[in-house]
Symmetry: C2
Subunit: 193 residues, 2 copies
């Protein structure tokens, strides 16, 4: 199934933030919340065949990864605030390497990109403006798409991805886009396969 790994370079790794200030007090968690919406939400339905990993790298306890499994998810709504509440709940827990479930279909663990990128099986497709146009790539329904939430992947992160297996760079069009918009475009490409 398609998987998205989204890096939040400065997103807080504890629950010490306000749902009333998701854009200001969280290290831009709001961006990642919109990515979750783009990956799962259909009109009056949800994409059950998608998985999303939010890799949080901000203070005070990086890294932490929140894992959303489409086939188990409940209580996911399209607005930022309610998804923010699910993430806040996950960040309340003391976490270790093994995932723990904090609400149906939402898991949290103490892993970073290096471990997470090895978990799903499939080709790694990382999104960059100078990649090959996604419409000229034969996408597969088990591709793993990797992108930065607010800011590009670092060169170190790209090296980790490339070391983890088969990897290609893809671009979504001629303009520089927000991460959630990239995901909307990718799932539409997959819908059209």
């Amino acid at each position: 199934m398609p998987t998205f790994i989204i890096l939040g370079h400065k997103v807080r790794t504890d629950d010490n933030f306000s749902l009333n200030d998701l854009a200001g007090s969280t290290g831009r968690l709001d961006v990642l919340l919109r990515c979750v919406n783009s990956a799962f939400m259909l009109s009056n339905d949800m994409r059950k065949d998608v998985e999303v990993y939010l890799v949080l790298l901000g203070e005070p306890a990086p890294p932490k990864t929140i894992h959303f499994k489409g086939d188990e998810l409940k209580y996911l709504n399209p607005d930022e605030r309610s998804t923010g509440a699910l993430v806040k709940k996950a960040l309340e827990e003391s976490v270790w390497q093994e995932e723990i479930e904090t609400s149906p279909g939402v898991y949290v663990c103490k892993k970073g990109l290096e471990e997470i990128v090895k978990e799903p099986e499939g080709r790694r497709v990382y999104l960059r403006e100078d990649g090959k146009d996604v419409r000229e790539i034969s996408l597969a329904s088990d591709d793993i798409f990797i992108l930065g939430g607010h800011g590009d992947l670092t060169s170190g992160e790209e090296k980790i991805i490339e070391a983890s297996g088969d990897a290609i760079r893809a671009s979504l069009g001629p303009k520089s886009l927000h991460a959630d918009h990239c995901i909307t475009l990718v799932v539409n490409e997959l819908d059209r396969l």
Copy 2:
């Protein structure tokens, strides 16, 4: 320039709602806020050549239209809450047929679809699942895209659109999508022209 007219069939037409409950207390204004994000937001930039009309049709004082002009906009951020605050400010005003500016690039007036659809010049493209695939249509940069925010256009609204000039139906792909995701796909198609 590309224009989006988005109908909020049940979206409140006064400012009697909480920014802490945009999905619950507003008649689904949250959907329209995400549409504004999709229409204007680029990574570290904004689309200045876009206009958006949010046509609000809910209680207590329908219709009202909030008009966002890309080339004049300031203080627009990607998160739902801050755009919700701009809309709330517009809805504080007593409004008449003539637009008044409530923050830079944000205007409000007492007009509904019938008047608004005649204002911009260009072909009307209304989005429906049974329309022709957008990739098989020659889109133009001055097309006017019309869609429902939360729910399809009514047959009466489609008749108003068809009576207003040259109009076609377009679809964005094989799945039924949220309005904001439709807009992301449309602007990407226009970017690729």
